[in-house]
Point group: C2
Chain length 397, copies 2
Amino acid sequence: MRITPREELDYRISRLQTYMAGAGLDAVIIVQNADLFYFTGTIQSGNLYVPVEGDPIYMVRKEHSRARMESGLKLVVPFSSMKNIPGILADHGYSLPARIGMELDVVPVAFFERYRAVFPNADFSDATPLIRRVRMIKSKYEIHLLQDAAVQVDKVHRRAMEVIREGMTDLELAAELEFTARKEGHQGLVRMRSFNSELFYAHIFSGTDTAVPAYVDTPLGGLGLNPSFGQGAGLKRIERNEPIIVDFAGCVDGYLVDQTRVLAIGGISDRLRRAYDDMIRVQERMITLALPGTPWGDVYEGCRTLAEELGYADSFMGSRGAQVSFIGHGIGIEIDEYPFIARGFSEMVLEPGMVFAFEPKVVFPGEGAIGIENTFYISNYEGLKQLTFSDQELVIL
Amino acid sequence: MRITPREELDYRISRLQTYMAGAGLDAVIIVQNADLFYFTGTIQSGNLYVPVEGDPIYMVRKEHSRARMESGLKLVVPFSSMKNIPGILADHGYSLPARIGMELDVVPVAFFERYRAVFPNADFSDATPLIRRVRMIKSKYEIHLLQDAAVQVDKVHRRAMEVIREGMTDLELAAELEFTARKEGHQGLVRMRSFNSELFYAHIFSGTDTAVPAYVDTPLGGLGLNPSFGQGAGLKRIERNEPIIVDFAGCVDGYLVDQTRVLAIGGISDRLRRAYDDMIRVQERMITLALPGTPWGDVYEGCRTLAEELGYADSFMGSRGAQVSFIGHGIGIEIDEYPFIARGFSEMVLEPGMVFAFEPKVVFPGEGAIGIENTFYISNYEGLKQLTFSDQELVIL
């Protein structure tokens, strides 16, 4: 268990304050768990009041003693009622803010209304784009956590090579690999910010089930165990000569990496083998494109164009009709952070410190899906570095 | 995998429409996964438009083919843009609604604004209280699913008796029991409706770690593995003569039950043993109180009063300062459904068909926590029935 160093928190807050000044905000009030963890070091319930200048105040409803222990922030105060907020601000010499940012992409309407009632004369706007911009640049401390998560997901990959047997169900394989990650310190939870986007550890499936589309905003979906959570592993039995996809989110101390590898017993069809090699080529193309200063959308277009030239216009990033409009996604505390390697995004550019998962995949309905995924980091001095490191060869068992 | 029968869906919709008529709503638009699953049988992304009279329309963005397969609703239509909604309504002979209900306790502000832009002249209000009232009365079909989940959680309990060893960590025990549930068909995900309330399978911890309070709205918390998700199992090693708490949410086909049992190697202190027996007495008191027609809050007050008389004023439902104001919670697709056996709630009464978990627990800081939890069902003809059935004796290994 690591406690986020105070210098980390201070730097993160100062960067947010810079963006706030640029946007003309007097304060940002942070309430969502992923953002709370990033800016306070913990998620004890309450809110973090960040003024455009001065120290932030972490107001904690439950559990104040733990917040004091787990957060490196200077001002951690107990808090029991919304109507006490103006008093707490006054106690610390802050006047009432006129322009307030909140995380309007995740805060529910009814919850927001309670904050609006506390500040009836304030203008509210969405602070999430600013928060995302701070969070998208990872520190050395964060990269170390991601490297640990990459070690964890490599152990999962090695375990997959050991346990896959003809006739086992996708669920049995998933259970084995989740068990492996959990014993290695995976917290279980995999956070995705987008509304309704529930995830579990992994998407693990085989053969035709790899090609089943789902509601989730991912290139592959899977049937799942039931329609209440229709993604990931189902009860299909693993057979010879079909792809087995292990798309796994490793997690250490709250930080995620994403890796996909493909295994098979016996072999796979020539079409799938060629597609696998071609997806490696798309990854190589990305590596040549993903330079600091390049718009996110340009990386997407360059890679998608190559995939089309290679013959995958109707199968790249999903089966026809279910194709997603991204190939990569920023990753850290959540699995859908900035940058998005996606259609559009012509104005946001890659910068040193960014971390993203890149997952070129193709889907042939009724046959199967294949592809690869790695998590990358744009280093200050060494260019693009690959954090996930499991062998990229298709594993034939 | 079960597909929700069409008659179930039709009945659920008709009950919602009755409440809508009473509340003067022309339409309810349902978007959140748990509610979508309840009213459509699946969670393929999109929205369910429920008019106060007539058939609901399930508009599906992704994946329409799966929604057709998994939902028993008659009208399942493809949907690509919010601005097409009025046209879809017109195609089905529905006029624009003037009063619309949405799930304002869970729908984020920015998401809601997109719906508001589609219906600029409509009045919006919170439909969640109506939805909760429909969902709180379980059908025979749902009770069968809950009974299956009770079988799963009993297997978890039996496995705990097999695997607990002195010196293993709480995490190792949690990993073993999660593995057991997963192989039995647990979907992994445990849904909680309340904002920011992330859960994993279980709260499993031992000794002094059972008494660590956390941010979650639960009587026990736990340290967890790290401050990013500071609840549940940590790295403490299990010792002799201390309580080991296994609070586990079983899940079958989307339906949850909640059960807590306590185990120990060797034995536990007289104080904890007496407290365990007293919590059984609180459960027995609840059984005498939980009759149809009784206000939820009266059950809470009756049980809390008994706990205070037994000497637990400062330790019941949490350590002093971290006590929660409930003893039980409705459960089904989410772990925080109606009814709440909680402070207040003097006007809502128990009714046949309701299902709730009841969890009298005490916490002695620095020593440990103890208690019991079962999931109960108010049957039409047979009164209160206990769904979870693992032996209630404290397990001494």
